[in-house]
Symmetry: C2
């Protein structure tokens, strides 16, 4: 086909996929092409804007490395990540809801035992977290692998520091006990800003949006026979619960982190300064639903 | 807003732009968000596919450097580039049509005089190109800056070579004479493959598409009082005219490159092997239309 105009080019670009043997890939590319073209027509994208857009995407790619995934952050701030989470995590009533994965998980986290202090020296108010992992039938799930990660008291994740030789802190991997229980010490999460020193920071500033996420603790819980759960537990007193920069808040995931005066912590530790406790139970969906 | 689902999140993501003071940016982001979300819903994008997509875009960004713009190539192969060209280059009848810019232009090209050989040693059949630059009123345009660039006889652009110390060839910048005429020697363009050693090559292979572009010579022509023209001149005998990998062919830009037996070339050179000639006149649109 020659002489394609701004309308006829869409059908031709889609027709060119006719030799594609991967039906799902073809379906995705067909929809992507149609929406990408429709977007450009709808806003009457200029050549200068088109070039700016491509340069922007290039800069996002360049910002990515093994500790920073700026495209995930872009997806998060556009609401795409949470949309995909919602599309794929319609769990039966009673199950713990899912939310965004975020860009700060790492497989390199260490294994801990229940009761250990995951803070590993991270700044922040001491906090004791405990609960049970259960199935929808109420039965405890033993041996569930529980990945925990969070920002420190300054709102910064270990992997964001460039001056700490790559040390990991305020994260770790536990397993639930035979009765489904898990417990650990860490720090109270604080609200924080998503990284604004890259292209994503530029776009949300230009859009007049704030970059803050309400305080939360990340969990990823996996056990045979159950759907993997990726979620957060938020703090009920956070001012950003209704304007999370990545749209991830679920009411069912907002919980009380109870403040205690100095005294004896749940694990028997004598605390000479105030500390917090969180009780949160997880309910996993059965696999294969 | 909390508890956003895969449908309600779109309006909320758009509502968050309410503080944006740049009306055009807001308009673009609103449409982009709506179409991006609609795409994900329409294909029911899985979390694994979402991650693959982000990793793909990251790889595209990583492939870009000062001589390779993989995002332009991605846009070209999706038909977006030609769509944007068509949207922005509705010229008055009689003007030379525009087509895609492509990723291989460089501002570092040297200045030449009419009659010079731009090939500068590039492989390929010798060709002599000539014509006149005029306005829509038929009047010659003197002093128009004419940027010319093309792949060599092996279908490879100078900037693609990694073993030639960055030498430029088969490209250069001329100016039209007082009577609007331009002429130069170069090489006959050949069909070629877009670069397939990167993520763009991966997607078109998976889509079952070929990577070829019909043979062409690139022109960018600029003169005060006229719209900048970015275009190609194609060869009429090319088998890929109807399936250009970047959708750029216009019938009005397809021309005869006439083959001649050895003899005296248009510039008086004694040619002891066959050579080609192309006559092509350009008509520029008035600026500010």
């Amino acid at each position: 086909m020659r002489n394609l105009d701004e309308n006829t080019i869409t059908d031709e670009a889609i027709r060119r996929l006719e030799g594609c043997k991967d039906a799902r890939f073809k379906e995705i590319l067909t929809s992507l092409t149609r929406h990408l073209h429709e977007f450009a027509r709808e806003v009457k994208l200029t050549e200068a804007e088109w070039m700016q857009g491509l340069e922007y995407l290039t800069a996002v790619g360049k910002k990515c490395d093994d500790k920073r995934q700026e495209f995930i952050l872009l997806s998060d701030t556009l609401g795409l990540s949470m949309l995909v989470v919602a599309l794929n995590n319609a769990k039966p009533p009673g199950c713990t809801e899912a939310t965004v994965f975020g860009p700060f998980h790492t497989d390199k986290a260490s294994d801990f035992r229940n009761g250990d202090d995951l803070a590993q020296g991270a700044s922040g108010e001491p906090a004791f977290v405990r609960g049970t992992v259960r199935g929808l039938d109420g039965k405890p799930v033993p041996g569930a692998v529980i990945d925990v990660w969070q920002a420190d008291g300054d709102g910064i994740y270990d992997v964001q520091y460039t001056d700490k030789d790559g040390a990991l802190f305020a994260r770790g991997r536990l397993r639930s006990e035979a009765d489904g229980r898990y417990w650990f010490r860490s720090i109270l999460p604080e609200f924080y800003s998503i990284p604004t020193d890259g292209p994503v920071g530029d776009w949300i500033a230009r859009a007049g949006r704030h970059p803050f996420r309400p305080a939360h603790l990340h969990f990823m819980i996996q056990a045979p026979g159950y759907e993997r759960l990726i979620t957060h537990v938020f703090r009920g007193d956070d001012k950003y619960l209704d304007s999370d920069a990545v749209f991830g808040v679920r009411s069912s995931l907002v919980s009380d982190w109870v403040r205690h005066e100095p005294g004896t912590a749940p694990d028997g530790t004598r605390m000479d300064k105030p500390y917090y406790t969180l009780d949160f139970d997880f309910v996993l969906a059965p696999a294969g639903k």
